[in-house]
Every structure is written in C-alpha cells, then in structure tokens.
C-alpha cells in the first residue's frame, strides 16, 4: 500500500511539477540587458582608469593617449612618429603594464631578420635526448608589441610583420601559429634619421589604423618630465584592465550606432582622397598623388565608434569622423610635388579635403 502511495506521490509530484514562472522567463532578457548596461557603465570607468594610470608615466600627450586607447579598443595597430625622447617607447611600455598585456619590444635594426621577429624552428634535445624540432616563438608573440624604429628594418623584415599585424598569426613552414588576442603592434618611427632607413611600404602602412605624430612637449610638460625623471626613471603605472576586458570594450563599441549619412560621409571622405576619381575634391586633384585604401573607411568608422562611446555618446557624429580623419588618413595617402612646393603637409591637405567634403543630408 505504501508503495502505491509512494508511487502515487511520485506520480503526483511529477504531475504537480510547476511550470516555469512566466516572470522568470521575462526576466532573462532583462537580466541580459542589465549586464550590458553595466558594461556600458564600466566602459568610461575603464577608459578613465587607463588614462589616469598612463598619466603617471607619460607627461602630456593626452591626445596621443586618447588616440592610442581608441586604436587599442578598436583593435588596430598604431604607428607613432616623433623625434627621439618624446616618450614613444615609454608610452607603449606603460600601456602594456596598464593593460596587463604581455609586452614585448622589438628594436628594429637593419640586420634584423624576419625570424628574429616571428621566431624559428630550432632543433633541440627533448627529455629523452632525442633531437626534435620545435618552434621557438619570436618576440612578436605577445599581446602588445613595440616595434621600435620599424623603418630601420629591411623590407624583408618589415614584411614579416605584415601577416602578423593583419591576421594575427605567424606561418613558419607549414605551421600556423596564432597570436593571442588582443594583439596590438605599436610601431615607432624616427622622422629625422632617414639614412639607413627603409620607408615602410604602403601595404604595411595600411595595416596601421592610426599614425600619430608625437610632438615635442611644451615647456611646462618638459618641466614636469624633467622633475618626474629626476625622482625616478621607473614607470609606476599599474595594471587596471586586462585583455578580456579590452575585448569586451571592443565588442561594446562595435554596437555604437552609425547613421547612414555619417557612414556615407566617411566614405566620401576616403574616396575624396583619390585624385583619379570623379568624386575627388579639388584639393585632392591638385595636391594628392594617391589616396587612402578602403581600410581607411573601416578604420574611420570603427575608431569613431570607440571615440563616441568614450565621449559618452551612443552614436557616431560628423565631428568624430573629422577628428579621426587625420590619424587615419595621413599615412595612407601621399602628397605630390605641388603640395611640397606649396609647403603643404599631409595634414594641411586632409584639412582641405574635410572642408570640401559636404555633409550628407
């Protein structure tokens, strides 16, 4: 009898098993939305923290820092150009610490070989004393790579960077070695010493989302630099973010809204740099030798989204595009002799193009 009751109870229990709560079901998307909202809230917090930490090691250069952060969140590589001693390398090293990313520095010299960058297969003895071939990873295998004076390396070595920068993987022999995300290459260039340097090919230049000109610090900034370095030369910035969080920030930034008109404006800006096209601006036809690649348009939109989110907006504006046009376009287009003759820099020509490009309404 008891078994019957027990069985009946079991059956009843089965029968009486309550259905899932409708409210609970409704709360799932709400919970998801809440989590996303938290991430939006944290975005600015994280950016602020990164900046604060970097300020500890890098005096001034706020625009450079902002641009570098934008590029990193956007997932792009940055080319820093500046005279020696303006803090390019220090910035990148501090950045690595702040982002808690494995950091490696490659000092490019004319005798640097591609395998010195990517790594090579070596023959070594294993535990059993057998000779085995193993791949020794090169310094490129890091999350944050500082390619110092990249223009000093030979084109062959420079080209070794191409695959890594674009595809985030290294192919050695028949083996493909992926590089962990997030992966950034911050390269530096010395604009002064042109002897013994190899200008970066256009293809490689196109892999950098930004080219930032690190200017000589102001007197006040220099005073602070000197004072700071008198105390210590060590970098004191601490880690405030990790790679995973950067990836989250990147994913969040990609959701920022772009209107069709702003998108079209960015496209027009890029196509306006091509003198052979009908849509070229008058200044382009006069001063530009060749224009930016389609990657420029991708870089503009991607980075503009990050910038908008950093500014606390959820949509990209025309101003975002205009401000980012300089770091995005200056290394992707080349001015002709007319511009040189008129003493116009690339930035001057970009300014003209921006002025001549009408907003889409």
């Amino acid at each position: 009898m008891d078994n019957k009751i027990t069985n009946a109870k079991k059956v009843a229990t089965k029968i009486d098993t309550p259905k899932p709560d409708a409210n609970q079901e409704a709360e799932k998307p709400i919970a998801k939305a809440e989590a996303q909202l938290d991430k939006v809230k944290e975005f600015s917090t994280r950016v602020a923290k990164i900046k604060d930490e970097l300020k500890k090691d890098v005096v001034g250069q706020e625009e450079i820092i902002d641009s570098v952060i934008i590029a990193i969140v956007a997932g792009g590589n940055v080319l820093l150009e500046g005279v020696p001693g303006v803090g390019k390398t220090r910035l990148v090293r501090s950045l690595g610490r702040v982002l808690s990313l494995p950091f490696s520095r490659i000092q490019f010299t004319p005798d640097l070989m591609p395998s010195d960058v990517t790594g090579a297969n070596i023959v070594e003895k294993d535990e059993n004393g057998k000779l085995v071939t193993s791949f020794r990873k090169g310094p490129i295998f890091a999350n944050l790579v500082l390619a110092d004076e990249i223009n000093r390396a030979t084109p062959k070595t420079q080209s070794a960077m191409l695959e890594v920068m674009q595809e985030h993987k290294v192919t050695v022999g028949n083996n493909v070695h992926k590089i962990a995300e997030p992966f950034f290459v911050l390269a530096t260039e010395n604009p002064i010493e042109q002897d013994g340097t190899y200008p970066l090919p256009e293809a490689q230049m196109d892999r950098f989302v930004f080219k930032l000109i690190v200017k000589f610090p102001s007197d006040d900034e220099l005073v602070n630099i000197v004072k700071m370095t008198q105390v210590t030369l060590d970098e004191t910035a601490e880690s405030v973010i990790n790679g995973e969080e950067i990836l989250e920030m990147r994913a969040l930034a990609s959701q920022v809204l772009v209107s069709d008109e702003v998108l079209m404006y960015a496209i027009k800006l890029v196509s306006g740099t091509h003198p052979e096209l009908d849509s070229a601006c008058p200044s382009t036809k006069k001063y530009v030798k060749y224009g930016a690649s389609p990657r420029a348009a991708q870089a503009l939109i991607t980075c503009a989204k990050v910038k908008a989110l950093m500014d606390g907006r959820y949509n990209v504006s025309y101003d975002d595009i205009n401000e980012l046009a300089y770091p995005v376009l200056r290394h992707r287009m080349k001015v002709n002799f007319t511009a040189v003759n008129d003493k116009l820099s690339v930035d001057d020509v970009i300014a003209m193009i921006i002025k001549e490009t009408k907003k889409v309404h």
Binding site: I30, A33, E34, Q36, L37, V40, K41, F43, S44, V47, A48, D66, Q255, V256, L257, V258, S259, D260, E261, V262, M310, D311, G312, R313, Y314, N315, V316, S317, Y318, D319, H361
Partner: protein, 533 residues
C-alpha cells in the same frame, strides 16, 4: 570627456518606460522630437499666414489705389475679392515649399542644438531596440528636455513680418485715398417735342450770317431783302417754342432767300452798259429789258409774248400760215441769239483769254461757210441774259466798261454765293437739307449740259451740218428750201422749259398763255414734219 550618466538608469526603469516597446510616435515624443516638430509646424503656419495676409493686403490695397486714382467705377467688393484671390493663391505657394520631412528636421535639430547627430541617428533606429538604441534615446531625451522648443529659430520670420507690414500699409493707403467723384454726364437735351427756345448760340449764329450778308458786296437791294428776311426770322424764332415750327420758319425763310438770290442774276448793270451804247440794236435790247427798280432788270420776253399771246390765245388750232408767223415771231425773240448776234460775236475780236468769252465760244459753232450757231437753247438763253451784252460791249472795245460788266457779272456770281450761303447757313443751323443747285455761271454747266442731243453723223467737225446748213447743231437748222432757220422740236421743248421757268408763277405753275403758245408752236411743227415726211 566622460558624459555618461547611467547611474540613474536601469533596465527596470527602461521597462517602466517601455522604451523597447514604444511605437514610433511615442519614441518621437520621448526623445523630444515631437515638440520641436510642433514648433516648426507652428512657424511654418505663421509664415504662411503672414505671407498670405501680406499679399492679400497688397493686392487689395493696390486695387483700391488704382481704382480710386483712375476713378474707376468699381465696387470696393471687387478689391476685396481680388485680395482674397491673391491670398488664396499665396497660401499654397508658401505653405508647400515650407514643408519639411522628419529627416530634414532631425538634421536641423542636430545642427542648431549641437546634438552631434543624435537626433537623426535615433530617428533612423526607431525600429531598433538594441541597448545602444535605447541608451541613445535616453541620452537624447536628457539632452532635449533641457532645451526649449523656442530655441529653434524661425528663419526669415522678420522678412515675413516686414512684408506683412508693407501689405498692411498698402491696404491702409488704399482705404485712405478718397476716390475722385466722377461727375455724371450732362443730361441729354430735351426731346424736340418738349418746349423749345432759341439758344444763345443759335441766335448768335444767325446774327453772324446777317452780318456777313450786310458786309458783303451783294447787290444792295437783294442784300436789304435778305437781311430783312433774316431779321424777321430771328424775331419769329425768339417767340417760337416748338422746334418743328422753328425749323419750318427757317426753311421757308431760306426758300424766300433763295428766290431773292436767284433774281439777282439779272442784268442791271448790263442794262446801263447797254444803254450807254445807243444803237437800234441796243435800244431794242434795252426795250426788252424791263427795269423793275433801280437795280434790278429782267429781260422780259413776256412783253414780246404778250404781244403775241393775245394774238393766239383764242386759237384752238393753228394754221400753217399762223404757225409760220409764230415761228417768225419766235425767231424774233431769239434774234438776239441768232445769226446776227453770232456774227457780231465773231467780229468783235474779243480776247479769247476772257473766260466769259470762252464760255460764249463754247456755245458757238461755226461751219465752213462762217456761219455761226449756238449749241443749246437753254444756254443760249443764258448767253442771251449775259453774254450778248458783253459781246456788244466787247465790240465797243471799251475795256473799262467791259471790266465793269465783268465785275458786275462777277458780283452777280457773288450774289449767288452770299445769298445761297446765307440761306444754306440757316438750313444747316437747323439741320435742314440743303437743296442742290446748278452753278448757273459755271463753265461746267455747259459741259454737263447734255441737251439730249445725240451725235449726228451729218455733223461736220465744227458741229455743223455741212454745206448749206446754216448752224452746226441740230438745235437750229436752216431750212434751205424755205430759206429759214428752223427751230427743232427739241429746241422748242427747251425753249419752253426756259420760258416756263423764267416766267413761272409764284406757285411754280406755268402761265397758261406761255403754255398755250408753245403747245401751238410745237403742234404746228409736228404737223409740219408729218407733211414733209
């Protein structure tokens, strides 16, 4: 740079606001777009209204100004209607171009309110309920709720206001102008049946005609008669009160004046001139001229006829002998225009440049035998009235006398022009038809005078009938057998006419004795013709 303010945001709050499930209209309301749209719609309506009123006022005002200044007789309602029409046309012409789309408004809001493309991005993502889209709406709401709708400027509104003011000013001006009164046309003259009185203008005109006659060189007797007639007329007209009666008075007076004028065509001066030359011929002529008064003379055939009429008046029929005798007597009457006269004319040697002579000459024919004839009896009589005396005078080679005669003749012409001019003037004043008159002294009369004479093949170049025929025309034919000049029937008829006209009774009837005389004469001639075959 960090403009996030998500502290007060939560998904629960979002849920409460139902942001993810809003309709488009609700979203637009939520983000503040609706309030700006209402503002812009109001501006659009205001501009349209101002423009409509402006053009309506301008049209109405301009029409009022034009009609008043040009004194057009148009109702003010027309101007109002015109203005209304202008306004009706203006309204859609302004309202439609001012239209805008939501997209256009969004761009404008982003630009004017420095929203950094939030508005138009949000409008493009109305159906996008992603987190970013929702956060964008919240962000936009926060940005726009602080901004008043009035911040959207009414572009160009001052211009519309200015145009409306101009329109109002135009309308006020149009209303203020006083229209010049159009004087009504003068009343039409009263119908003629109504009481009439001689107007001052007509009286003055008649007096002017009287004065013109008085000042003319018309023969004085006739002049006095004419002036007297016209003064009597004037007196009568002043007392007349009926227009038709007045016209009749004028017509009668004018007819009387014509008669007086007609009778001036006599040979008063001729008589004196003729008498100056005391020849049997001229004496005979003078005898024929009956002096009625000092200046007026008439050539009275009646005396000659009278002397005959008793002779024939009892006759019912006339014998050939008597007819012959009548012919002779008639010839006597015509003797002045007969061969003798023509001979004298030919021998006078008058200067052919004399127009009167030329006139005479045009009446004369001459055959190769040197015999002269006169073309028409009617003109012959006129010649008889005027010309032969002149010829006689010409024969006298007395230039002074001739000139006096010519002057007299010319003055007689003038008598006609003055007399007939006065009577015609009176007629025209009272709209009475002017009678047609022949120019008795015109050479054209000779040309126009077709006495019904048909061209005769027997006529020679001079108009005569060849050798043996005395006169060149068929008016007078020389009867070779009888040795007499024969008056043809046609001549008789014309002669009869002349006699009838010349000696007609006052009532226009022909005296019976004249009539009988010629009837007998013609009858005898006809019978004579029949006898001759």
């Amino acid at each position: 740079m960090n403009n996030f303010d998500t502290e007060n945001q939560s998904v629960n709050e979002n849920n409460k606001n139902n942001l993810m499930n809003m309709t488009e209209k609700e979203i637009k309301e939520y983000i503040g777009f609706a309030k700006f749209k209402k503002r812009l719609l109001a501006i659009r309506l205001l501009k349209t209204l101002l423009a409509t009123l402006a053009f309506a006022f301008i049209a109405c005002g301009v029409m009022l100004i034009i009609t008043k200044l040009d004194a057009w007789d148009i109702s003010p309602w027309f101007s109002l209607l015109f203005g209304f029409g202008a306004g009706a046309i203006t309204f859609p012409c302004v309202f439609l171009p001012l239209s805008f789309t939501d997209k256009k408004l969004a761009y404008r809001l982003d630009e004017e309110l420095s929203l950094k493309e939030r508005m138009h991005t949000s409008l493009q993502n109305l159906d996008n309920n992603s987190l970013m889209s929702v956060l964008l709406r919240q962000d936009l709401k926060k940005a726009t709720e602080k901004i008043k709708a009035k911040r959207i400027k009414a572009r160009g509104l001052p211009v519309y206001i200015a145009v409306a003011v101009i329109g109002l000013a135009t309308l006020i001006t149009g209303l203020a102008i006083k229209q010049e009164k159009v004087e009504p046309p003068p009343p039409p003259p009263p119908p003629q049946d109504e009481a009439w009185s001689l107007s001052m203008e007509d009286e003055l005109a008649i007096k002017e005609i009287i004065k013109a006659v008085e000042d003319s060189s018309m023969v004085s007797l006739a002049k006095e008669e004419l002036v007297g007639k016209m003064n009597e007329l004037l007196t009568a007209l002043k007392q007349e009160d009926n227009y038709e009666d007045a016209r009749n008075l004028v017509a009668d007076c004018a007819d009387e004046m014509d008669k007086i004028t007609y009778k001036t065509g006599s040979s008063g001066a001729l008589y004196d001139a003729i008498k100056a030359k005391n020849t049997p011929f001229t004496r005979e002529i003078a005898r024929m001229l009956t002096k009625t008064d000092k200046t007026k003379y008439e050539i009275k055939f009646s005396d000659a006829i009278d002397s005959l009429k008793h002779k024939y008046e009892e006759f019912e029929e006339i014998t050939p002998e008597q007819q012959k005798e009548m012919k002779e007597d008639t010839m006597l009457l015509l003797s002045f225009a007969s061969l003798d006269v023509l001979s004298a004319l030919a021998e006078s040697g008058v200067d052919s440049s004399d127009t009167l002579y030329g006139y005479l000459e045009s009446l004369i024919t001459i055959n190769k035998n040197g015999v002269y004839g006169i073309k028409t009896i009617g003109e012959k009589m006129e010649v008889f009235n005027y010309g032969w005396a002149s010829i006689q005078l010409e024969g006298l080679k007395d230039t002074t006398l001739k000139n006096n005669i010519y002057e007299e003749l010319l003055s007689q012409n003038q008598n006609y022009s003055v007399g007939y001019g006065a009577s015609d003037g009176l007629r025209e004043l009272f709209e009475i038809a002017v009678p047609q008159r022949e120019d008795m002294t015109s050479e054209d009369a000779e040309e126009d005078d077709d006495s019904g004479v048909e061209e005769d093949e027997d006529k020679n170049a001079a108009g005569g009938y060849g050798p043996g025929l005395i006169l060149g025309t068929d008016e007078l034919i020389y009867d070779k057998e009888n040795g007499q000049t024969i008056i043809t029937q046609e001549i008789y008829q014309k002669y009869k006419e002349i006699m009838n006209n010349h000696f007609a009774n006052e009532d226009g009837t022909v005296p019976e004795e004249i009539k009988k005389y010629f009837d007998l004469l013609l009858k005898g001639y006809e019978e004579g013709e029949k006898e001759n075959g």
